[in-house]
């Protein structure tokens, strides 16, 4: 039997980082125990009209205290509910789910876009090599300092209010950053750009994908992405993001 059952976590702290962005520390030793960077959890809503669990990536893990940190953006009713959580409140969650990143390479480019940034923090912490961090924002900047502890941070903003004007690839090109491994999380167009960039430059890349989920454990086939080869489990050209991902090597998947 797995330990990843639906269980109660306790809210340690819930703070607002930026407009609509919240940082939630939870006491959930059953998750913290075995969690790895790049994995995610399923958060359940209290309101019975919202049935499906919300997948949220793990941002930080504190194994000693049995705590995990989640950073999320309020985009709908579920995340709105989570934004109201207060110290000592409980909430149901399940995890850790998914595969997480493979820690590898000598010189890494860690690339995050928007709400794809938080999942990379624990990775930056755990990765034992030279690290460059590229963060792309639309406007509001957050978590920049937190990443600076682990490597040099380069910023891109769509409005040019900070760092390079444009997207993360513009920043990479502008700063002429080099690497033998890319770790990336963010919106699909960004990941597609990074995939092309990585292939062009012969750099290995691990990409963390997103899709609407129901079960979160690989049973419902709701969250598939197209794979280049026939998948061992599904026997079609489909992989389950919740179970076989969310992290894939760029060449495994069609974006």
């Amino acid at each position: 039997m797995t330990s990843t059952v639906r269980k109660k976590g306790i809210v340690i702290q819930n703070t607002k980082l930026a407009k609509d962005i919240y940082s939630l520390w939870l006491e959930a030793p059953f998750i913290a125990d075995s969690a790895r960077p790049g994995q995610f959890v399923s958060l359940y809503c209290k309101d019975g009209s919202r049935l499906l669990p919300r997948p949220i990536s793990i941002c930080e893990i504190n194994k000693e205290k049995g705590r995990i940190r989640l950073v999320f953006r309020v985009v709908g009713k579920g995340t709105e509910e989570f934004s109201y959580l207060q110290e000592k409140d409980t909430l149901d969650l399940m995890g850790p789910l998914g595969n997480g990143f493979n820690l590898e390479g000598k010189k890494a480019l860690i690339i995050g876009g928007g709400i794809g940034i938080p999942p990379l923090l624990e990775l930056a912490k755990k990765l034992n090599c030279e690290k460059q961090v590229v963060l792309g924002f639309r406007d509001d900047i957050y978590m920049e300092e937190e990443f600076e502890a682990f490597g040099k941070v380069y910023i891109s903003t769509e409005d040019g209010s900070k760092g390079v004007k444009g997207n993360v690839l513009d920043a990479i090109r502008y700063h002429q950053l080099e690497a033998d491994i890319i770790y990336a999380c963010g919106p699909k167009p960004m990941l597609k750009g990074i995939k092309d960039y990585a292939i062009e430059h012969g750099i290995k890349a691990q990409l963390s994908l997103e899709e609407r989920m129901a079960c979160g454990v690989g049973a419902c086939l709701g969250c598939v992405c197209q794979s280049r080869e026939t998948d061992m489990h599904t026997h079609v050209k489909n992989k389950r993001i919740c179970k076989d991902g969310p992290v894939f090597y760029a060449e495994e998947v069609e974006l």
Binding site: G48, R212, C223
Partner: protein, 302 residues
């Protein structure tokens, strides 16, 4: 206390099974649930060859329910036979195989292929709203229901359950057609066809436009249909549609279902099947019910 039930000569240790497509082939949930405790595992619809299913998004949440348009992605019957049957046979539970196809011949091919396999029952899905051909088209016309049932019955070596679509005006008519075709049992309901629109992007929430509505939202419709079918035919019924708790399950049983299946609730709580089973037993103890048969259809007629 007896919780075992018998359908078409097969004995199930208890009336709880899984709704096809919500439990994979049992493998994923075997981490959460001791499959040996279930009356049966009903597996995801399987076709004669692998099906890739629909494009994503395949899932959308609705108030008290969800829409899915998986499109019957499945690895095909050969992989199923090699991988999933041996896996499930490790457990002390019955195996009900859900079968899909685009043509009657497709269904029959899978039925034939399973003839010599170690599975307990076949469930024929003529009610999937998410594929263009086959599926639901068969389930909305009583003549087709009878035809496909009888053609499958001729070849099937295992008892045959026909899974009915709720997207009909008269569910009892479909049940009678399946009975006329020789069905051994009926399961209902499959999902109701639904749609969600993303108003900001002015597009459909699902790539497939429509999807199948499941979950607690549809339970009252499912209970009504189980009741109507129980009063229309003499076949045992596997009831499903929004079952999340033992209380839900008991509504179906009292309405006339011999077994019940837990579907969408697995996504909300991976141990839902076991909690439903425990809850049924608890209710029986509390109410002094010695045999589950005392409850089956106990309000059939006032």
């Amino acid at each position: 206390m007896n919780t075992s039930v018998n359908i078409a000569g097969i004995t199930f240790q208890n009336p709880v099974t899984t709704a096809s497509g919500t439990f994979g082939s049992g493998m994923e949930y075997s981490d959460y649930v001791d499959l040996s405790r279930l009356g049966a595992v009903t597996t995801k619809g399987v076709a004669s060859v692998p099906w890739p299913g629909n494009p994503t998004p395949r899932i959308a949440e609705t108030h008290g329910g969800m829409l899915n348009a998986i499109g019957l992605q499945n690895p095909g019957v050969e992989v199923f036979i090699k991988r999933d049957i041996p896996f499930l046979r490790q457990f002390d539970t019955k195996i009900i195989v859900n079968i899909v196809g685009r043509t009657i011949e497709d269904y029959c091919e899978v039925v034939d292929r399973l003839a010599d396999c170690d599975v307990d029952m076949l469930e024929i899905n003529i009610s999937c709203p998410n594929v263009k051909e086959g599926g639901i088209a068969f389930g909305q016309d009583p003549r087709l229901v009878e035809e496909i049932t009888s053609k499958i019955k001729v070849r099937a070596k295992q008892p045959v359950i026909m899974k009915l679509s709720p997207n009909v005006a008269d569910i009892a008519e479909m049940a009678r057609a399946a009975q006329a075709g020789g069905a051994d049992a009926l399961s209902l309901i499959n999902t109701l066809t639904g749609m969600k629109i993303d108003i900001n992007r002015r597009t459909f929430a699902l790539a497939n436009k429509t999807g199948g509505l499941s979950g607690p939202a549809i339970k009252p419709i499912a209970v009504r249909m189980v009741y109507q079918v129980a009063n229309a035919v003499d076949l045992p019924i596997i009831g499903m549609g929004g079952i999340t708790t033992a209380e839900d399950a008991l509504e179906f049983i009292m309405a006339g279902a011999t077994m019940i299946a837990v579907g969408t609730a697995n996504f909300i709580n991976p141990t839902a099947t076991i909690e439903v089973l425990e809850g049924i037993k608890h209710f029986m103890i509390q109410q002094g019910v010695h045999d589950i048969h005392e409850l089956i259809g106990c309000i059939k007629e006032k």
